[in-house]
Amino acid sequence: MKKNKKVVLATLPLAIIIILFVFTQFSVISIFPSVSAQDSEVRVIDVRAFQFGWEPEIIHIDTGEQVIFRIEGDKVVAHGFYIDGKDFYVYIPPLETVDVGPMVFDTPGKLKIRCSETCGPLHPFMVADIIIEPNFPYYTFLLSALAVGAVTVVYVQRGPKNKMLGVSLDKEVDLLRVRGIGPILKKALQWRGIHFALIWPNVVIFMIVLASGFFGNPTGNLNFSVGVVWILWLTAVEYMILFAGRTWCTLCPLPAFGEWIARRRIYGVHKLRKPFSLDKKFPKSLNNMWGSALGFLGISLVVPWLVTRPWVSGLLFLALIILGVVFTLVYTRRYFCRVICPANSYIGYHANASFYAVRSVDKSTCDKHIEKECMRGGPKGYACPWVTPYPGGLTESTWCGQCYECVKSCPLDNMSVKYRMIGKDIANMAVLAKRRFGMAWVGFIRFNLGIFYELVFFGSFWALKDWGNMGIIFGVNLFNFGVLSPTTSAFQMWLVWAVIVAGVSLVAYPAVFFVFTSLAKMAAGAKNLSTKNDVFVPFSYALAPYGLFIWLAFTLNLILVNWAYPLSRFSDPMGWGWESSPIIPVEGLKASWNPLAPELLPYILMPIVLIGLALAINSTYNIAVKLFGDQRMAFRSTAVMAILHTGMALFFAWIIIG
């Protein structure tokens, strides 16, 4: 009986997805008599296109109702009219009105109207909602979220020991010792040239980002610097985090130039260990997550510009490359990565919810070993550039940039790459995390921005986009960046955006989270612990998997709809009408915009978020068990936190299908 229980619980994530799909499939079968096509009157829906939205933002249509969309073109540019799941892209000339239809929507739910003709920088996010009533899927999504929350709470009530959704957290696979592929991977990671080999293609890509960002087409989706970076790279990094930890940091060229200069070597280990740098000691007070976290938040304050204007992207990356070189020439090790790079905050934070980790093979070997080449540097590898500070003793993935110097330098062959269940280290980290407010705030910022970006970029609320965009309709490269100088009213719009973004991530949501953790503490009856240090910060670590999965959903949305933009940019990076390029010197590979199954998007995104929800609740339980030491107290506090986590999932459901 016990064995069967284990098997059942191990399939919990799969069961969640299946339950959700079954529910929503039933919802497709409408239980209300639908109006037949011949009987109904054709309804004309007036729609106005403008830069960069539609009016009305939300349109309600009944299932089976015949509609014609009467689209009034913009006064200023041409647009295109496209609806998810339909096979037309209608050109809407400016100043003209075009009728599209009659058409019928058979499946209840939510579809998007999207613009199919590049009309300016915010074109990829020019979206309106069509809600096909009765919107059963919305209710089944809400029910599914509640179900997943409830089932996970019931699951943790049973007191699973050291498990995550049924999978033991003790199990791990040493990837470098797996039959067949293991030795090949090991040889690769121990080869000194691997670093350069992996980074070189990204040097090429970054150079093209700079060239296109400054001199290329000022419209984002026609430009490599925006089209490839903010659609393809952004998505790839999120999925890399889940499956391969901080692998982006292995490949990243930003600090590489500085590091090669300081080492005076690209490939080998310089015999004399005098770095070409000032080799200054980095101030301890600055050596934490805050710099990186605030950098990430800072980016979000200008994100509507960053992800649509090539010049802004080019400028950001030029600045980061320069900072990377300067920091390395002053401090030698990866302090640029640790403290400046905005991506470090989230890649490091969420790496703790990854399957992948760089760890020692046998801790006791490390304990007995005196010299510790991984930490000090040895003939075969440099001292850990990421200042982890001791690779052999790694118990969390936050600061390990996966440069594999330790794998190269250890003479006992005791450093390796492990594959294990998500969240193995979270409980241990969280319990020791009492004053790591920087980490907690990365969790809050990332979690909220993931949901917020889904709402802003793929939602239909034009006002939000307008505030962030500051009302400027032009694309920007080096030759016209003056258009970005905002007027007073534009600045006021931006202030609203900034207050919302910063307010929610820095203050509002953490405050709500704090309230919930106090309630959780009360429910657990843990009177002798301080909420702020002992419960609030540790419990925030549940957002490591949760936030990651929110971003997995958001970026999947991005890539499924807009995959054609990055792909076509490899053939035409500058947006100058090239059919081939130095990267893809073959003609005919330029893809046209063609969203992939967008009508199924909510059904794809919600299960991802629900897996995140289950992981969050289970992580909270694991943390609570370690915190309180008592299974009952842990369960009670988890149940309270589950309310908050499930609530956020309900909110996400509303965004994507409500």
């Binding site: 121990q190 015999k271 004399l272 260990r273 005098k274 070997t365 007995k368 070993h369 005196i370 010299e371 080449e373 000090r376 540097g377 040895g378 003939p379 075969k380 250890c410 003479p411 006992l412 062959d413």
Partner: protein, 133 residues
């Protein structure tokens, strides 16, 4: 320059015998040079590091690691699974490097004195008697 303390010499000799020279076999390619290669590489490094004004503590540690790395190389290995071996070799390497460094400090980098110290130490390790002039 004063020679390395005889206890350290003795233990160094033993460790080298145990972990290195015994593994080299007795073929004709086992020359004095090949027996001393790790040691000479290490002493070369100590001089360079001293000359460059680097930090004594980290560089003497590194010198020990260097000695060990060369022993591994010269016995055809990339790794060892024997922590005791690793510890023993790096320790004697560090201690010898430490002594060399101190001598360099004392003599203010007298290269010829350093060379003769190295050569004397090598002979002592190999227990080859040098004919004194």
């Amino acid at each position: 320059m004063s020679l390395i303390d005889s206890t350290l010499l003795q233990s160094s000799r033993e460790e080298l015998k145990k972990y290195y020279w015994s593994k080299l076999g007795k073929g004709s390619d086992v020359t004095k040079d090949s027996k001393l290669k790790p040691f000479s590489e290490m002493t070369d490094y100590v001089y360079k590091a001293w000359k460059a004004g680097l930090d004594k503590k980290s560089e003497t540690h590194y010198a020990g690691a260097l000695l060990f790395d060369f022993i591994l190389q010269c016995t055809g290995r990339r790794f060892t699974s024997d922590v005791v071996e690793a510890n023993a070799i790096t320790e004697i390497g560090r201690k010898m490097a430490d002594h060399m460094w101190n001598q360099l400090d004392a003599s203010n980098g007298d290269f010829s004195a350093y060379k003769s110290l190295v050569s004397e130490t090598a002979d002592s390790l190999l227990e080859t008697k040098k004919v004194k002039k």
